[in-house]
Symmetry: C2
Subunit: 306 residues, 2 copies
């Protein structure tokens, strides 16, 4: 992997799929390019919004390879490599490093619950040893609401101090800014990314490296401006507009909402498809979403059409 550090607004890119539920590689690459051209500093490929865990290891490796050969700047990409199976996480994490992506975003193993410090540290260290520590750039992915296994601050601190060259940061999708701020304070130089662009207004104060967000798939230009111009009035206005779009999307199941928004903005209905167990918005949910988005800058977000 490169030596650059990921910072700023990182989109947790949605993954377009074909009718047979395979990943539409061409459309995925085009979407990533558009995001980078329209305000995003980086891309989180194959995260939760990207439905990574709904694809086989082979499908995930194929998507990584497609992005790697696309000519896009891999030093702006962080790839989700988490898996329930240790052998899978090792294979995906090694591939992320070998392709030259700037980071691998590692979920905890998410089937067994009640995993203690020894179990979780043992797993991450087995991934590091299995993939080979050389050139590994790991970001821990804290999302206890889905994984059921928190990266407690104690575990994070231990892993960072034991592997300072490999364990570079953390994505915090818990929504608990106190947890993010505590880690940023405890571990100088450790890159902490909350999952909401709403946190960008306090990023300097709390020591965040930026954000990694699902809704940036839709509001990229607003979120990008909110970050770049964060000490200006224009930045504050962009932050508010981005936040309104985010809040509207969050009123219904989020990944489906993001894909519905991309389909609507791009005119490409194929964007709506999801891999089960995620499902299309129900008519009532779609109505809720449309009403909520009508109160925002959503209709002006025509960058997706480019």
């Amino acid at each position: 992997m490169t030596s650059s550090r990921l910072t700023g607004v990182i989109a947790a890119a949605a993954t377009p799929i074909r009718e047979d539920r395979s990943i539409d590689l061409e459309k995925l690459v085009a979407h990533c390019r558009r995001l980078l051209d329209n305000g995003c500093d980086g891309i989180n490929l194959l995260g939760t919004t990207g439905e990574a865990t709904s694809f086989s290891v082979e499908q995930r490796l194929e998507a990584m390879a497609a992005v790697a050969r696309s000519g896009l700047p891999l030093d702006r990409f962080m790839v989700g490599t988490g898996a329930a199976a240790l052998a899978d996480a090792i294979r995906l994490t090694a591939a992320a490093r070998d392709h030259g992506f700037a980071g691998a975003l590692l979920l905890p193993p998410f089937y067994y619950k009640g995993i203690d410090r020894d179990g979780l540290v043992g797993y991450v260290e087995a991934v590091i040893a299995g993939a080979g520590p050389n050139g590994l750039r790991l970001y821990l992915y804290h999302f206890p609401q889905l994984s059921g296994v928190p990266y407690t601050a104690d575990v994070v601190e231990h892993l960072r101090r034991a592997h300072p060259g490999q364990v570079l940061g953390l994505k915090d999708s818990s929504g608990d800014l106190d947890y993010s701020a505590d880690l940023a304070r405890r571990l100088p130089g450790f890159a902490v990314f909350p999952s909401s662009e709403a946190s960008l207004g306090r990023a300097d104060e709390l020591g965040f490296a930026g954000c990694i967000s699902a809704t940036v798939n839709v509001n990229a230009p607003l979120a990008g401006r909110a970050w770049r111009e964060r000490r200006t009035k224009a930045g504050s206005a962009a932050l508010e507009a981005a936040g309104a779009v985010r809040e509207a999307l969050g009123k219904v199941p989020l990944v489906a909402a993001v894909k519905w928004a991309l389909a609507t903005l791009s005119g490409d209905d194929g964007w709506r498809r999801l891999v089960p167990p995620l499902r299309l918005l129900l008519p009532a949910e779609q109505q809720t979403l449309e009403r909520a988005l009508a109160e925002t800058a959503f209709a002006e977000l025509n960058w997706v059409r480019q």
Copy 2:
């Protein structure tokens, strides 16, 4: 798959691993054979106790193939085929059918949470369609404490009525006997297996098909007798003795306890190995376990040595 129905005492077989964390296929086959020869009516290969989700799809397919070519009676095997990724669950479930195993035990997709009825039904129906319904014999695996996604009674009833030839039963690891009993009452002919041999004493009354249990790896002869002689005094005594061993094992992390017990009874220390995030018992846990087992028939369970 065969047309026989699985019933009785089914062991959720532990999976022995080599030093490199690959599955020790020879030892796995030998363990399954011993279980069937010592009181078990069936084997649940690669379930939660078998650490299935900690292995790659290829490792799981290899283990299935090894058992299939071992000459063991496949009509007494149910194989865990659940995976977070739809494509993986389809591949594993189809392989279970194609090998001729009597059943495929299907976890819900266990990464995303808050999955509703439509999402969960959509996933199971996508597995059925993807694997091909012909000859498919599915058992739903309800374990909300680990999967985070319950097979609600409503979903189970819908799937059973919509696919009576494919959806044959359910393993209930929730520990909620009311849930098991409710399903057995609602759905005659649907095979419901609680996860504890302690339930065998009420199996006839509540309409259970038997049990699928982790601790039967250790107390197989006792659990087998408890089932076969369940209307006799000897059966009640065996049930009590089996329950005492189970209770002792449950005082510490269960999969590690079962593997420790197998190592201790067989004299083969390799049995202790686990795939991270599961870990060896800590010294204090081992002491707790030894003390608890000393009050039971554990020391007499020398069938494991055969």
